[in-house]
Symmetry: C2
């Protein structure tokens, strides 16, 4: 792994000042290679699927692992989209004359070498490679061992595309070994790796954060809330609260707890509950919710702190915005929380006081996503506060250095 | 320490949404308290100085420790300057309509609780408190034990000012114990402390980074370079290279190594060397420098990687910009590096390719400073890449969260 780190560091020096044209040419060449190699990719993927079936991988895991023709085409298109995004590298902001006569500004530059550790989806190999490449970073990609044949095959496409564009093939390295010790070694490559991005279950993310001294862009829980204020518009409230839970169950930006102001509860909850039940959502409620709705499972203290990632919703009736904010502070995960209200003062308070990476007014939590936010693509969602917060796109893979331009200026 | 952490966390919740007016009122009230209490501050400081003399503290350390009337006034003025700076909190950037109809923007918010660990200068207590307060963060301040009486006395002024403005006194807590174990406990307060800022020697900074799992805004070496290009203006080159070394010797942004292009060396080095010697600077040179100048100590490999913080300068003659950039990459500390050139292409390359927190053209490295950059004040200089890079002012003590404003928008 040390050799991989050294090669990545050397490649990063070439990649950082590489022109946008060169990086885009590489992205397009990789997309092309993926299309040309589609058959070989499917063949490699079939080896992984067979091994997965042999070792008794579940249906959901096998589905995540599979590279269908559509998914292969979508990897290629993803790279083309990244090529079409503006290059963040080199952008100079706020270049300003100071009283001393020097000009001071900030130039956006790559972070250096990014280590990405992920689980079964092989398409992450292409997506992550594309984002790192466009942002001028070298990457070390360590996918799940169950996808090793697919990842190696995608790695060959990456290599070819980089070479076509005249960039070092070692700019994006797919770790070839399935040895579990390799992850531990990657976590210790400080000096070679500038930031780690674990993409996967909580166990993986926690392990990376615990074991490594390298900074980590990490995503832990998504315990998202919608608070229906007593000054909410009834129809908007029902539409948003329904969408935030049911549009997809397994995503981190799905609502897990619905908070409803006492005085509007009777107006919105019965209809909402009927719609949830129609969709097959299990409802768990606080005592007041139980009093209002029939056949409600009592919510326990543990429910408020659970990310279900499933058709289950906990509901709590609160006195008003203060109690809603307190509840979110106590049980939320600082991911995404929304208020439904027509009252400007309440909206303003919620936006200011709720300390989450995304805070919303009259919109579904499901919008918390790099594509919906206009980042073009995302490498993940950060629930940390330092550096990047929320969906992390190309800009999150860069930082700003200061630049100073003078004309022989000295400090007096 | 856990109790201090809990109180800080609770205070942070009050401070984050506090109005600019309230925070500024507190800053001005603290400045006032410092002026009113000047006599008591000097008395407390005298206790520290006496203890320092008794334990054989050196003259430089005693000087750092001393609170003269001028330094007390300067603490008060520093707080007034911070009050006059724009409040970064709540600033909304790039609020933009997306194709879905939602508006997406970023709102600047405090980090939460900042732990600051510093050494002998008691004025850091007031400076750091002011920056944290203005940026809406609660702070835990752990100064050196040799300054404990001074720090406690300043702490009482902080408390009074916060109370006058109606903010919780626990928003800024000065650790009252001199027990060395307290630092170790502070480093373990993850969950209560969001970021640590060690201010002091390399030993302290390395210890904090090594022992804590809390993110650290840290500053390690300042091995700064000036490269005199063969297309430099002779007079500007001499002025900048002289200023970068001699304006102050003990600061992190002082030049430690001078790189000179071969073909201009004979034109600039003899005069520069004469000026350095007049100022009492010891020169250590590469073989080519030794051939050009008389009485030059040979520079060893170790010299290129040394932050002298003293009137010593290492000089290396290089073939040109490529060798200069390679030298900086191999031996620099990614702090501050400058090129002297009239050639636009070279300037452009140096700005892009040198991966340091400040990169300069035709200006003295001594400008790398929060005040000179217009940040108003600085809590430190970061040599890290994530989050803040270079001088860290109020903005570096904040982060951006996403805000989304819709009108009942749901995701399709």
């Amino acid at each position: 792994m040390r050799a991989i780190g050294q090669q990545a560091r050397a490649a990063a020096r070439v990649l950082a000042p590489a022109s946008t044209a060169k990086k885009d040419a590489a992205l397009l060449a990789i997309a092309e290679a993926i299309r040309v190699e589609a058959k070989q990719l499917r063949h490699a993927n079939e080896q992984d699927l067979q091994a997965g079936r042999d070792t008794g991988l579940g249906a959901a895991a096998l589905d995540r692992l599979e590279l269908t023709p559509e998914r292969i085409e979508s990897m290629a298109q993803g790279l083309e989209i990244i090529a079409s995004l503006p290059d963040p590298v080199g952008v100079i902001a706020d270049l300003t004359y100071r009283p001393s006569g020097i000009q001071v500004g900030r130039m956006r530059v790559p972070l250096g070498v990014i280590g990405i550790i992920y689980e079964s989806r092989p398409n992450v190999t292409a997506d992550a490679a594309g984002l790192c490449l466009k942002s001028g970073n070298a990457a070390i990609l360590r996918g799940g061992s169950e996808a090793i044949h697919s990842n190696r095959a995608i790695g060959r496409c990456l290599e070819r595309g980089l070479e076509v564009a005249g960039l070092p093939a070692s700019a994006i390295q797919v770790v070839q070994t399935t040895d579990r010790a390799a992850v531990g070694e990657l976590l210790k490559l400080q000096g070679y790796v500038d930031v780690l991005v674990p993409r996967g279950g909580k166990g993986l993310v926690e392990r990376v954060a615990r074991e490594s001294r390298i900074p980590v862009i990490k995503h832990l829980d998504g315990i998202c809330h919608v608070y229906i204020d007593d000054q909410a518009d009834r129809e908007k409230a029902i539409a948003v609260a329904y969408n935030a839970k049911t549009q997809r169950y397994g995503t981190c930006n799905t609502m897990e707890t619905l908070l409803v102001a006492q005085s509007i509860a009777a107006e919105v909850l019965p209809d909402l509950a009927a719609r949830y039940r129609e969709a097959g959502v299990e409802l768990r409620g606080c005592p007041k919710t139980q009093a209002l709705l029939e056949d409600i499972t009592p919510a326990t203290e543990a429910d408020w702190g659970t990310e279900y990632l499933a058709p289950i919703l906990s509901i709590r009736i609160v006195a008003g915005i203060d109690e809603a904010i307190s509840h979110i502070e106590a049980f939320g995960s600082q991911h995404t929380d929304a208020i439904i209200t027509e009252n400007l003062g309440r909206a303003r308070r919620f936006l200011t006081e709720v300390d989450s990476s995304s805070v919303m007014v009259n919109a579904s939590t499901r919008f918390a996503d790099g594509f919906e936010y206009g980042l073009g693509a995302e490498i993940g969602i950060s629930t940390d506060k330092l550096h990047a917060r929320g969906p992390v796109g190309l800009e999150g893979l860069t930082c700003q250095k200061f630049i100073v331009i003078g004309d022989g200026h000295i400090r007096g």
